[in-house]
Amino acid sequence: MSFQLIERQILTSGKRQDIPEQPPVISTRDVDVYYADKKALDKITLDIPANAVMSLIGPSGCGKTTFLRCLNRMNDLIDICRVEGDIRIDGQDIYAPEVNTVSLRAHVGMVFQRPNPFPKSIFENVAYGLRIHGLTSSKSELADRVEDSLKRAGLWEEVKDRLDEPGTGLSGGQQQRLCIARTIAVQPKIILMDEPCSALDPIATAKIEELIDEMRANFTIIIVTHSMQQAARVSQHTAFFHMGKLVEQGETRQIFTSPQDERTESYITGRIG
């Protein structure tokens, strides 16, 4: 290890959270979303940095999940939903006509509130995406990728002897990690998580949080959560949404110790605004 590298590590190790300084992987400009005539998001402009965790917080109905679903065009599946404005991932406009939503969603994976494994074996759950995207050329490569993904999701040791058993037979926390393994198998760059721990007990939650922290080295993660403590624990950046508007965003540490906007303060301290 070079001297400069050691010195750099010493310099950065004192910081509470090291935030890599890189250009944003996702950039949104003036994003409006309508459900029929109802405006759900109003001029959302946000830069999301790479290899970090950003949490989206706010009261129910504030638009945080709607925003999350814009980032891999999940809202396309809702007929009455209309998205305006500019959303770019690595500079590419993801709403451009030439964009293939299937490959976009492989690039921008998603983990949902309730674990939703396919009614297939544990192995097939992870192998499925690899197959449909044609990402492996041989059986042994497929098996390797499944194993690697399950290891990275922290599930391998618990399931290695029963890969043929149905994924739905696992516990809730294991199912959620299986869904994460399924998501990371296709090597996305970005992972969207919509309240991934709300159906899990504290131990399963802690495992997912630990996993999120490990995963940020390789992925950019955006997580919607109703747990302030979870947002504070897992993310380096936090964005607060309120009534369809992005009220405040910044370093998580700053948002939770000294937010600038009164609405943020009221929400995170549990006050009537």
Binding site: M228, F256, T257, S258, P259, E265, S266, I268, G270, I272
Partner: protein
């Protein structure tokens, strides 16, 4: 922030730690004033009263510690609430120290009351104590009113207390050199002055907590250090040959 919490017992807890802190502050304020008065009047009864009050101050600190720790564990305070809890915890520690200083002043007063007063030093101590008491009152008001301007002004006023301490240090050392019989009272006065100087430092610490409470920033710029007694050297005068 004036609006109330959705969980009203959270507000009750926050109000409770504030009133405990203010009760503690009031007690310490009286302790310092009484300890000084006891010294000036050579009043050992009043000094004994100051010493007794220490127990109540300590009990209040324990109560505040328990309540703030349970709030951190159970309520997970955020933003201004978090800063209030943390600042209260730190201010109560400063108040407890200041209570100890007042008690120590009172102890020494019991000895000083038995010996002849040393020059005008007691009066200088009295002036120094008045400065500390005024700073202390102002900083407690600033804490309640969230007034960072007053807090900053108090923080800077600590330099005057330090200068006063420097003067007393020099003065008392000179007395001791002149007359060995004065060493005992001078040493006690010196420790009393040191107690007041430390009380001034804690007042400045509280001022920094007011700044943190309001802005969320930890004051990094060092306050002016004016206590020079640690490096002070006074050369004894040569005795005249008789």
């Amino acid at each position: 922030m004036d609006s109330t919490h959705i969980v009203s017992s959270f507000d009750r807890d926050l109000n409770q730690i504030q009133s405990l802190l203010l009760e503690m502050g009031g007690l310490v304020e009286t302790q310092i004033a009484d300890a000084t008065l006891a010294l000036v009047r050579r009043d050992t009864e009043l000094a004994a009263k100051v010493r007794k009050q220490e127990k109540r101050v300590n009990a209040l600190e324990v109560e505040i510690n328990e309540l703030t720790v349970s709030m951190l564990a159970l309520r997970h305070p955020m933003a201004e609430d978090l800063r209030r809890v943390v600042a209260t915890l730190k201010v109560s520690a400063s108040l407890e120290r200041m209570g100890d200083y007042a008690k120590n002043m009172a102890k020494r007063t019991s000895v000083l009351a038995k010996v002849k007063p040393v020059g005008s030093s007691t009066n200088t101590v009295k002036i120094m104590s008045k400065m500390v008491q005024e700073m202390f009152r102002d900083v407690l008001d600033a804490f309640v009113a969230r007034d960072i301007e007053t807090a900053e002004e108090v923080r800077l006023r600590d330099a005057q207390v330090d200068q006063m301490h420097n003067t007393l240090f020099r003065e008392l050392l000179t007395y001791m050199m002149e007359d060995a019989r004065k060493i005992t009272p001078c040493m006690h006065l010196l420790f009393i002055a040191k107690n007041l100087e430390r009380a001034g430092d804690h007042t400045a610490n509280i001022a920094e907590q007011v700044h943190y409470l309001v802005t969320g920033e930890i004051q990094e710029d060092a306050r002016p250090k004016s206590d020079k007694t640690a490096t002070m050297f006074i050369k004894p005068k040569k005795k005249k040959k008789s």
